[in-house]
Symmetry: C2
Amino acid sequence: MARRQMKLGVSMIGLGYHMAAWRHPDVDPAGNMKLSHYVDVTRIAQRGKLDLVFLADGVGIRAQDEPKGALARSSKNVVFEPLTLLSALAMVSEHVGLVATASTTYNEPYHVARKFASLDHISGGRAGWNVVSSFTDTEARNFGFEKAPDYDRRYDRAGEFVEVVRGLWESWEDDAFIRDKASGINYDESKLHVLNHKGEHFRVAGPLNVARTPQGHPVIFQAGASDAGRELAAATADGLYAASQELSAAQAYYSDVKGRMARYGREPEHLKIMPGVLAVPGRTRQEAQDKHEQVQSLLDPLLGLNQLSRVMGDLSAYDVDGPVPDSIDPRMRSRAQIFLDLAKRDNLTIRQLYTLVAAGNGHRTVVGTPADIADAMQEWFERGAADGYNILPPWLPGGLADVVDMVVPELQRRGLFRTEYEGTTLRENLGVPYPTHRRAALARGLAAE
Amino acid sequence: MARRQMKLGVSMIGLGYHMAAWRHPDVDPAGNMKLSHYVDVTRIAQRGKLDLVFLADGVGIRAQDEPKGALARSSKNVVFEPLTLLSALAMVSEHVGLVATASTTYNEPYHVARKFASLDHISGGRAGWNVVSSFTDTEARNFGFEKAPDYDRRYDRAGEFVEVVRGLWESWEDDAFIRDKASGINYDESKLHVLNHKGEHFRVAGPLNVARTPQGHPVIFQAGASDAGRELAAATADGLYAASQELSAAQAYYSDVKGRMARYGREPEHLKIMPGVLAVPGRTRQEAQDKHEQVQSLLDPLLGLNQLSRVMGDLSAYDVDGPVPDSIDPRMRSRAQIFLDLAKRDNLTIRQLYTLVAAGNGHRTVVGTPADIADAMQEWFERGAADGYNILPPWLPGGLADVVDMVVPELQRRGLFRTEYEGTTLRENLGVPYPTHRRAALARGLAAE
């Protein structure tokens, strides 16, 4: 049997994951609104045989402007809309998967099902949907609300949303279309399934006006850290983004989520858990350290504080050189806990904390030689903490090119990563199974009784 | 001064405008779900120097299944989602405009503003939005409703929707982004405009998370035939789709809409009225006639009746060989009136009417030599009935290739159509002005007082 290998994606977030990326000397600061920038990143990812490029998303300018003036120092205020961008990138790539976030909070399942199904057809089976809910009030205010819905309501809606989308993706069976010119019959009526979903949040009749897609349906990613998030991932996700700083925490998360899958009749290896890793490789440790310090030195203090506020809540009433308070209202619960743990462990001030997390925003950060980084990735992979990684390049495209040119060859030498794509679809490369058409199976089962 | 020339777009609706297109011997009946089909059509359109390709859209399978079994005989049940498809097509074309319908009835303005702005960036300024409202109950049932909202409510929402989208497109001024690495200032805060729209249908704060686009904002198309539709077009549209069978009706429509523009401070030539024309050219009149009869002969009676029902309402209670009733509840009011006028003029049965309109569905149909078709197009263009045309090829891509290879050269010989693209954006080719940033102008005006 072939050796188990890592799955690798890259977060293609504007000019890079680091808040100061746009000020990096190698970065075109206008690149976040240039198609050519994303084309470059996608081609580098494919050159490195990566499984996928990933576009995070918010339906609005998500950062709170705390402290005042921080927003004007960020390059993350304008971007392309993910589904349009990935459709364009499908035309300049052949193998790499194309995954985007779409929120369940202010969208309609019919629109989301349609767009990702369409992308799957356009890309020949390379589409993936990262299911999220929207937690910022700035996003709520773009859709008629003053505040984001509370956590339970958001997750309840998200769960039903995913069910409706999966149902719509089963509108047509794989071989529904006969297209017989002689008889004039275009499709077999027994292979069209009308959803007629009636739930607490949605009533959606269907059918979807897109044929079954090359992957059966697009791959589903999630990023659930909470209990409800883990359960939803165990039930429905093919891939899972995660954030941990420590091996033990990552192992606990990994085994907990995998352990939940049996109750949904799923095999543990059919969900790929891919924690984020901010990797800064250098030919020597010193070179890597210098690179990291260079981008850190470009961090505007207002932006550092802003990033922390976005996770932990408004910090403007606190002294930045005083201790990190734990009484504020966190906007991203699990991430805030990671930050608080770090602050307590090393007794950090607010300023020290935001400087520490500026690069990875709570994700694991690894700075070193290709061997150092490969070691770090191998350890978690072999010790039950990861099936692969979501690579977070601090700046783009250079930060990704460094990983592809230095770290990927080292992983390949160790047999930990592919040297050629295994399949033609994202699903085949990730090694997650083609989905059963549940409603067809149900209909056949009933007919057989 | 240069001679006034026609603007030409093509309706890239699946396998063609004719309900029987998929059965045509030259048509790949699986092409409606193949990217290569749309790539071919787009490249042919660009070879013909056409202004744009246009994707009509419905958020569901729009046809009613009346009579029973009709849907299974139609190829129009599955298609790509327009914004993803046009984004892909942007990558295999350089000049032709990319216009898609997006409904205002079950969408959010923030999503629509974002996607079209993103497409405008991706395509280097070739995006257009055709604003419609959704009138079928089958679409309503995909979004939690039993029935479509009534006409007045739909149009009221559409008007406010367009205002919100235009407002969001003015979030950032053209030169808002400084991107000064040294100071760390990314944008000029005085050039960001927060919308804070609070209306009857929408509350949308903004700003949009996409920069001002190459065209200022995407070109706006509409298809208003009713009084409210004409008024909305006069106020906000750059292009207007229309359906008329007769010169006199087209002239009346043209002069009415253009006459309404003055009250919005707009020049008549800044709105291009483009009626649909189903053109079937042949090297001889006989050849053209034979082509037309061939596709007509492939029409399934169930589909013909279905198309009529979709416009006029459920006809299943009536004898298809009896007179066309005028008491039923029309689904598309203005189009139904065109059908009733045709039926009365020639005393047609239901069967005769649906056969007559099968090809053009109420649009003008012209069958003949390239000179015949150019004559027909020239007449309306010069007699105050059209600024150009939305070409409706009965089948694709062959029906478009015929127009591009036979009719376009004839129009060019007459000086009625371009031989090279005038500009790089759709807006420049259409000859409609770059939009003023109204909110910046207002802010500057206030500052000057």
